[in-house]
Symmetry: C2
Subunit: 493 residues, 2 copies
Amino acid sequence: MNAPSPDIPFTAERQRAVVAALRNALPAHCVLYNEEDTRPYECDGLTAYRQLPMVVALPETEAQVIAVLQACRALQVPIVPRGAGTGLSGGAMPIADGIVLSTAKMNRIVAVDANARTAVVQPGVRNLAISDAAAQHGLYYAPDPSSQIACTIAGNVAENSGGVHCLKYGLTVHNVMRVRMVSIDGEIVELGGGALDAPGLDLLAVFIGSEGMLGVVTEVTVKLIPKPPVARVIMASFDDVVRGADAVASVIAAGIIPAGLEMMDRTSARMVEPFCKAGYDTDAEAILLCESDGLAEEVEEEIGRMSAVLKQSGATAIAVSQNEAERMRFWSGRKNAFPAAGRISPDYYCMDGTIPRKRLAEVLLGIAAMETKYDLRCANVFHAGDGNLHPLILFDANLPGQFHRAEQFGEEILALCVEVGGTITGEHGVGIEKIDSMCAQFTVQEVAAFIGVKRAFDTAFLLNPNKAIPTLDRCAAYGKRQTRGGLFKFVKG
Amino acid sequence: MNAPSPDIPFTAERQRAVVAALRNALPAHCVLYNEEDTRPYECDGLTAYRQLPMVVALPETEAQVIAVLQACRALQVPIVPRGAGTGLSGGAMPIADGIVLSTAKMNRIVAVDANARTAVVQPGVRNLAISDAAAQHGLYYAPDPSSQIACTIAGNVAENSGGVHCLKYGLTVHNVMRVRMVSIDGEIVELGGGALDAPGLDLLAVFIGSEGMLGVVTEVTVKLIPKPPVARVIMASFDDVVRGADAVASVIAAGIIPAGLEMMDRTSARMVEPFCKAGYDTDAEAILLCESDGLAEEVEEEIGRMSAVLKQSGATAIAVSQNEAERMRFWSGRKNAFPAAGRISPDYYCMDGTIPRKRLAEVLLGIAAMETKYDLRCANVFHAGDGNLHPLILFDANLPGQFHRAEQFGEEILALCVEVGGTITGEHGVGIEKIDSMCAQFTVQEVAAFIGVKRAFDTAFLLNPNKAIPTLDRCAAYGKRQTRGGLFKFVKG
């Protein structure tokens, strides 16, 4: 939520030394250092913050990853690992005197084992490419972030990515069995494996979501699951957001775990409809998408039960997808909400808070009040089933004061999330964007535990420094601004 | 697999000082130090290894836990946390100059929230007591270790316990949302919370399964799930263990995830049948128990599909439970395999390796060969669905050489597990029993990472020292005995 600290600029001499060392490690075409070549790497999906890296390294093999890390360690050069650069919290934003290590060129599917239901893939394999490769066996890889056409598995591992189906099928951490990575010392380390439980500490779970701070991924084994024979989605309209939010709670309370349970407010529906022609009810105050998948009979039964609950909760209209094309159309609006925001507003700021489901209505009313306070519009899309909000604050950075107001608006939304017992990030990570909010979410002792674990993997603090985990000094400076504690806060006895 | 190193004995003066400090922290009846009082704490379920503790502390409140830890830290006294003492790897075995901290007296169910489907419980609440308390809401707590009548949630958290239904419903780590614990510094720390993904590193996952080395649990929030309306179990006989093992693979390959999938060999069936009257086919070479749960129609469909696969895989007889009483009877034999072993053999040694499912038949044949080699019988029971083996090596410690042969037999089984790509523990933990096998499973670098994480929580190494994670010196000494690498091993590039 705060601009990154100014980085120490590098000297031409330093850059020459680093380029020379990396050219010993990599073919010449894999080392970029001219500004026109490094410019594309100046930001990730969080475009508000930009920084040119000193050098970009694009290894093609694991041996080259090792050589790059050894060279950087010898020269004490910070490394920012980067997947496809679709991240939304600035986790891959460069450091001025550091390198960007992109795993994009390592993009081979190593093996698909239909019997074991696993795929072994290199870090630069795109999320959707895994499912494409598994499709011939009737299998797929479940996590489906909106960026799944572009984002890669190493980035998914770094951010513990979710998607619209994670309520039922889980996040990356629930769908990855093994990660092979290179440590800052240039050692190959394998975490996890085939067994349900691993001896020793669960370092795979720690690694997933560690935002490139613990090592560089070189290979991932993912779980594949059978593609459900049938999937159908209900689109339900509500004339009141609070009623829509309550309907979400009622579906879950009825003992149903939908394959997806998403909500959009009217601003969002009106934003995406001209762009996607998804068939959304643009007069409704809220739209719910509620999916069921499985065997045909199971889906029919569950669609019936969900429809009944939604009607009872006050739905003013209900449509059920009649075929796969219609299902994809119903989803298209939701999945394209971010690009649609980019069409109707010069800039937008995507938030990513999580709240207990039962506080959804209250938070929505709070955000509505903030729209007036900051005089900015906000389109609300949510993974409603798991309480993960994505308010999109619309603004124009060219109009004086709007960027600053958008930032304050965003900060107030996150403070509200923490206040109702939620968290500052659902699935987009902390990156550089929310590093100060970490001081709000956690106490000094817990941040110290994070730092201790980071140190266990990277004593020199060269891997993606100043991301995701704030320093204790930073938290001390954050000091008095600290909001009330949330779910994850230390509580003094 | 090796007897623990001899501990430094304590002096009477040291004991007096520790007792005095603990009496400042606790009511007098909560501090035990006379041998007749401390004797019950000399071992856990791994009865082969015993050690009297210097003092036993039984705090009744979280504030007392804090006071105990502060006192121990000030005096540099090692602490062995203990749940119900049902653990099977010696994780709660005392240290001669240390205290045992039992959480048994903190046994209150704090809250059951039927809407949120959670229960908040104190550490000493028994596993089954949670389900009992949730039953009025039609909910239950899924992990069901065989010791669930006695074992407590803090012990389940420490060992990441599973049970016969974990193939479908997961281990403790998949069913616990939040742990409140006291660190060695006497700080209260909350890990996890209500959200699907937590910002920062996933320290909840690290804590679960950390065998009392990172903190002392004072409260746990568990997930509750709806009790399936119907559950039925198939009992299938096979005239060949390899055929039975292949049938397990075929069920999974057919896309079915049974609620439970257990296998017993003839030695096990003959061992339990006189004791449990479970109706087992004692002429079969292998028996499979294959459960389905859910809605009545789903169960009927799945039982049909599973029966077909089992018949096709060569089952010689198939029975399906016709009512809940019969289902419980079919399970009774499997659930009482360990006590049954205690009835037919003076001593038994329960192993806990995990292997890839497809290597099951091969490992069974290997174990059969070892029975001849070591001239000891072995009863094999497995969580076959998730590849978790529990060979029970039967011996008589009073007959010269048998204990030693049993140990060697066990070590060879684990070496075979690692060799086929498996692990040295499935769900019983490492404790003191398998601490040397950790050196076989992991390389020095990975053990160093474990130690680094341990240090991040417990700089002084006072919490359950010399358990679960070997020291680097220990691994160096283990040295040349190291077997070929398994799934979790560092692989040099």
